[in-house]
Symmetry: none
Subunit: 191 residues, 4 copies
DNA sequence: TATGAATGAGAGTTCATTCAT
DNA sequence: TATGAATGAACTCTCATTCAT
């Protein structure tokens, strides 16, 4: 990636996340990136394209964090833990960007399907595979893998966002443990 | 609520949901509502205010559906089931509006906190109370109530959205059962 | 025609004729017309549409001048004289507008055919009919009517433009007589 | 002329004629010419200058065609015929370029006078001289030479353009004969 | 109370031109 | 000499908002 493209992406993340893509002008991004307005149009087709690129960039970033977290792990339980931590940490470190992603992913009618697919391919599938492994290994029940994966994703995402709204601190370790416990054991008291 | 206000709200939901609030002009809403452009400004301060009203309207709608579903129920387990069904049905019937809510809630910096608070007060709290009841009744484990409630909300929402993306059918009953099973029992195989 | 539309047309003729449509901004036209920029877009689809309207307006204006000049005339020779005078006078009074027309008619690919057709229907056909009448009356030779009409039009237009370039005065009467003589008698010395 | 300059001129004629100078970017011309954008600015001061050069190039081309057609001719009548044919053939072969010339000549305020003068010096004057010769030789009547020359030019140009608009075929020979007949003899039936 | 014509700030986008390489 | 990445002035067009009717 061209260094100027990188600077534009960084500046756009910074600005779009703070004020929303909609309320941010191309000029603001350009200024923040230290380039001319026209330069942005050399690297991105238009504003829409810039937004799309950011979304893809974000999805990719999370993907990579997840993959890194998984290195050297074999046990499905440990792997799920690693994924949860990776995602919580991402949201913890990139609160505004996370909010930007939440907002924009739902907003671009035509690219929408592409992005959802990208999330599926990059985020959901890892969870599905890991859960599948657990089932095969006899560690997990024979649950509906897809629903389980999506559910876990929902637990992680919404918890992360929720904590970021209502609390100053973001106790990753504790939150992870609670989610793990819930996802693994459920809420029912076993008699 | 004045009948004209109602027509404006209905028209705005219809239009904003289809194309996004941003890409919809006040004129379009006015035309769809069968009123003059100026009339909208009689009932709503400005476009932002209209969007806010829609969000509040949506949150309220879900709230009411939940409350209705809870009528006559006492058992925490049954109550959670009822909530899950109420929310799944809402998303099933109002796909576009759901997407609109997902998008716009994250987008309005100043009103943002208000809306999140509203969701908390109207949606999360019911879950928390119900889970709390279950714990008190000795049916649920002593989990972190807040995390459990938010997790369940995440499971429901993201599953609903996920199904709407990737599938034609939306098997509410089955999905509800899977979520219930997961939330109550977890994925771990009990030896 | 709405009075505001008229003011915009007048202002656009004024501005476009002076500087060329291309070098004139919509803002300039708006200011000259004493209306807001947006108002222009209420009456004309876009700048292109405004230019087209002006062209049509111009063609129509000449048409009307010709028709007025023909009132009460029967003799083909007199009618041709009247047409020549009407056109020369139009160019004499609207030099800049004439130049604008000359320029813009050739310039708008898609509307081009429409405008040429309009000129044909409004300007050329009158000449053709009159020449035809003269032939039928036995006053004119059996020339190719179309070529004769177009030729006369060329003589008038280019002479008018030529005089406007290189001379201060525009001796309509004399020019008309010269054109009439040429068109009626040709240049050859009859032995 | 440097070969690169020639390629730029050829490319510019090609592009400007098709889409209009205004709607053609320097980049398009550069690409079509197979040179870099900057190179154009080595040979032409700016876009305006390039357009001017093309106009001059076009006027010159017609001039040369006329001069070639006149080689070996002495009789004024034959000479006029040759000029008519040369111009008709030019328009026939370079329809788009002809349209470009018609359009751009009227459009550049400052250079405008220069170009008109150039046309006068290169095109009109030949006609004037030839007509003058004819008068001196007693073959033509003592018409106003300037008006006669300009008239003939108008007849040729507008007929050429007219035919190109409304007909597929362009019968040069026939058109030439009609114009010659008109210009020499006029339309009046001699008793 | 209801309207929609009028407005103009403001945004995205283009592209002629420059200049470091 | 030739290039094309970078620039930013300038343009068209949109649309939320106002206000006279």
């Amino acid at each position: 990636m061209h260094p100027k493209e990188e600077r534009i992406i960084a500046a756009a993340i910074e600005k779009f996340s703070k004020k929303g893509a909609n309320s941010t002008t191309i000029q603001e991004v350009a200024t923040a990136a230290g380039v001319g307005k026209g330069t942005i149009y050399r690297y991105f087709e238009n504003k829409e394209g810039l937004i799309s690129s950011l979304i893809e960039f974000g999805i990719d970033k999370v993907s990579k964090a997840i993959k890194e977290g998984l290195i050297g792990l074999d046990d499905p339980v440990e792997k799920l833990e690693a994924i949860i931590i990776a995602k919580l940490e991402f949201y913890n470190q990139h609160y505004d960007f996370g909010r930007f992603l939440m907002r924009e992913i739902w907003g671009h009618k035509d690219k929408f399907e592409d992005h959802i697919q990208l999330i599926r391919d990059n985020h959901t599938v890892v969870l599905e595979e890991t859960i599948e492994e657990g089932i095969v290994a006899g560690k997990f029940k024979e649950v509906n893998v897809e629903t389980a994966a999506v559910s876990l994703m929902g637990m992680i995402n919404i918890n992360a966002l929720h904590w970021m709204m209502f609390n100053q601190e973001f106790p990753i370790e504790e939150l992870k443990n609670d989610i793990i416990e819930l996802f693994f054991d459920g809420v029912l008291e076993k008699s």
